[in-house]
């Protein structure tokens, strides 16, 4: 086993030290550890390349003279191998350690600690900072985060069954572009293959596991996509509702304007979906009354009629 490890280290050193591409013939002749028949060496080398790449080491393939199709050569460029974060300060080292600790036992804890191990080689001492708020933790121990991150990095397709609002599991295929955590929930955003539009999915609504499929087409990263963007006021519709004084706090926090009506307040709130807002309004019972728009008002009334028929 340690012979293979030695060979991988020697190959890395040789490919890093060279200033030009090394051909396979040169590698087999000079790098220690390549023995046996030509086929055996060939197989060894192919596996070694895959192994190094799986460690995140990028190997460049090229030729000496682009005008002639001669034998391909290999090298590892120092700028691809080395970590270049510029000058790192002791404070920054501490911040990165705190960031890694936020994972605790969650999915990325190993990845985070492995990054910190690499950073420790800079030899920059940490400058302990006291942030009382650093008690926040990222929780999620599922392997999904690794799968999703991998697919974001390679722009591959992510296939999964997603629970629709009608409680039906529908197969979705997306090219994931973002991963986020908000109020304790994990979300993945991506370009939906069918709709060709960006959609965001809550991970706990994914049924079963996510699978990755190789994306053979070129993918252009959507340029104008920003996480946590607020829907622009121009595209949003607003509702006018009355809320009893001292009540309806959940709705009040959304209000863009408030008018004092004495026993009641009249507030204006954005409508994300009629269904969601209807449920919010019904939750508050007699403490909320809808004025407009007409479709919201009608939906609330028809739901109330059904409630009455069902429970009479």
């Amino acid at each position: 086993m340690s012979r293979k490890i030695e060979r991988l280290i020697n190959l890395t050193i040789a490919l890093l030290a060279t200033t030009r591409y090394l051909t396979k013939t040169e590698i087999f002749r000079t790098v220690e550890g390549y023995e046996g028949s030509p086929e055996t060496k060939e197989r060894m080398f192919e596996r070694d390349k895959d192994d190094l790449r799986s460690l995140g080491i990028s190997i460049d393939v090229g030729s000496f003279d682009p005008l002639f199709a001669d034998e391909a050569g290999y090298r590892i460029k120092a700028e691809n191998y080395q970590l270049d974060l510029g000058e790192i300060t002791p404070t920054e080292i501490s911040l990165l350690s705190l960031a890694a600790d936020a994972w605790q036992d969650a999915a990325f804890a190993d990845a985070a600690q492995s990054a910190i191990l690499k950073l420790s080689s800079f030899g920059v001492p940490a400058d302990p900072i006291d942030i009382p708020g650093a008690s926040q933790k990222l929780s999620n121990s599922s392997a999904d985060l690794e799968t999703i991150t991998g697919a974001i990095g390679t722009s591959d397709l992510l296939v999964f069954d997603y629970l629709s609002t009608d409680l039906v599991a529908e197969e979705r295929t997306i090219i994931p572009i973002a991963l986020s955590n908000k109020s304790g929930f994990w979300y993945v955003s991506g370009v939906d293959n069918q709709l060709q539009e960006i959609r965001t999915f809550r991970l706990d609504r994914v049924q079963g596991s996510l699978t990755v499929r190789k994306n053979k087409d070129a993918f252009e990263y959507p340029a104008d996509f920003e996480l946590n963007q607020v829907d622009s006021a121009a595209t949003l519709r607003f509702a006018i509702i009355d809320v009893r004084k001292g009540k309806g706090h959940a709705l009040r926090t959304l209000a863009t304007s408030v008018k004092d009506l004495g026993e009641w307040d009249q507030i204006r709130i954005p409508i994300y979906t009629i269904e969601y807002l209807t449920a919010q309004i019904l939750w508050h019972g007699e403490d909320v009354f809808v004025h407009e728009p007409a479709d919201l008002r009608e939906t609330v009334i028809s739901q109330l009629q059904e409630l009455l028929i069902n429970h009479e």
Binding site: S114, Q136, L163, D166, L167
Partner: protein
């Protein structure tokens, strides 16, 4: 390092990372080195022995790495090729970015300097990869409040909180002694002894508007749980994701009856109301009647208007 990497590859990665680390930590004790890389001293000796055999093609003493570790202290020479730290993987980058986001959100207001440092780090980490790395983490509750709770839990201290009860739809001020901060189904909760209710209560952390530390007498706090659960039954007329999530039910057969329980009568009533025509409450009858009465009153108001 990702868990799906095999043991020999993990060891290869460790050897590659050892070289730059030794370069900046010449003369480090073997034991300390082993601890830093989370292996036994024996494994570390084996690693160093393997590394000692590696170097540039030619593999004469001129090209091999020069390691000295028999004294129990480790030095390295002639290892310029691997002397710089290895770059981080995409996954490692994402892990750090998400962690940094979380810290940024918990910074006290007077540490603007740290916020600047975090945003610079985020930019530099993102620049390592050719694609825009879009990840973000927004904590469930304001860092200030979780800090206060954590501190109170650690010191058995009291807190004066302003709490928004969604079930009662009221904002109340209470004095509590927090005993636990935990997460469940995507929300953070504080378990505390409530001096208003004189009993243990659970509070959703994101509904705590403010929290100030206060003095409490701990002898009142004793284990007791007098709350009783209410059993209720619902039938899903139109099964939907919203209803499944609201009542936290995994399997919802259309038309089938499901028996559930809750500590709060108001919560049951409001959840049924919010579900509109999708859910029928079959028992208890008292709550069912209340739902019908409420719906009638509300309908009357819409007819009048």
């Amino acid at each position: 390092m990702s868990k799906n990497v095999s043991a020999p590859l993990l060891r290869t990665a460790r050897l590659l990372d050892l070289v730059p680390y030794l370069n900046t930590h010449q003369g480090i004790a073997l034991k300390e080195l082993a601890t830093h890389f989370d292996v036994t001293p024996a494994q570390m000796s084996a690693d160093l022995t393997t590394l000692w055999m590696c170097g540039l093609p030619g593999y004469t003493p001129l090209e091999l790495m020069d390691l000295e570790f028999e004294s129990g202290y480790v030095t390295i020479r002639n290892a310029t090729t691997l002397s710089k730290p290895r770059t981080i993987t995409f996954q490692e980058c994402v892990a750090l970015l998400l962690g940094l986001d979380l810290i940024a959100a918990s910074l006290p207001d007077d540490r603007h300097d740290l916020l600047v440092a975090i945003s610079s780090l985020r930019q530099r980490l993102t620049d390592l990869f050719g694609i825009p790395v879009k990840v973000s983490a927004i904590p469930a509750a304001s860092g200030e409040i979780t800090n206060a709770i954590t501190h109170a839990v650690q010191t058995s201290g009291g807190l004066l909180i302003r709490y928004h009860s969604l079930y009662r739809d009221e904002i109340s001020e209470r004095t509590v002694m927090p005993i636990d901060l935990y997460e469940s189904s995507g929300h953070q909760y504080m378990k505390a002894f409530c001096f208003t209710a004189l009993d243990y209560r659970e509070f959703r952390v994101d509904r705590i508007d403010s929290a100030k530390s206060t003095l409490v007498s701990t002898d009142v706090v004793e284990q007791k749980s007098t709350q009783e659960k209410i059993t209720y039954s619902i039938t899903a007329k139109q099964p939907s994701r919203d209803v499944a999530e609201r009542f936290a039910i995994a399997d919802m057969p259309a038309g089938g009856s499901i028996e559930l329980s809750s500590y709060s009568r108001q919560w049951i009533e409001r959840s049924v109301m919010a579900s509109g025509g999708a859910v029928l409450l079959t028992s208890p009858l008292a709550i069912r009647d209340e739902v019908a009465k409420k719906a009638q009153l509300m309908l009357n108001r819409y007819k009048e208007a």
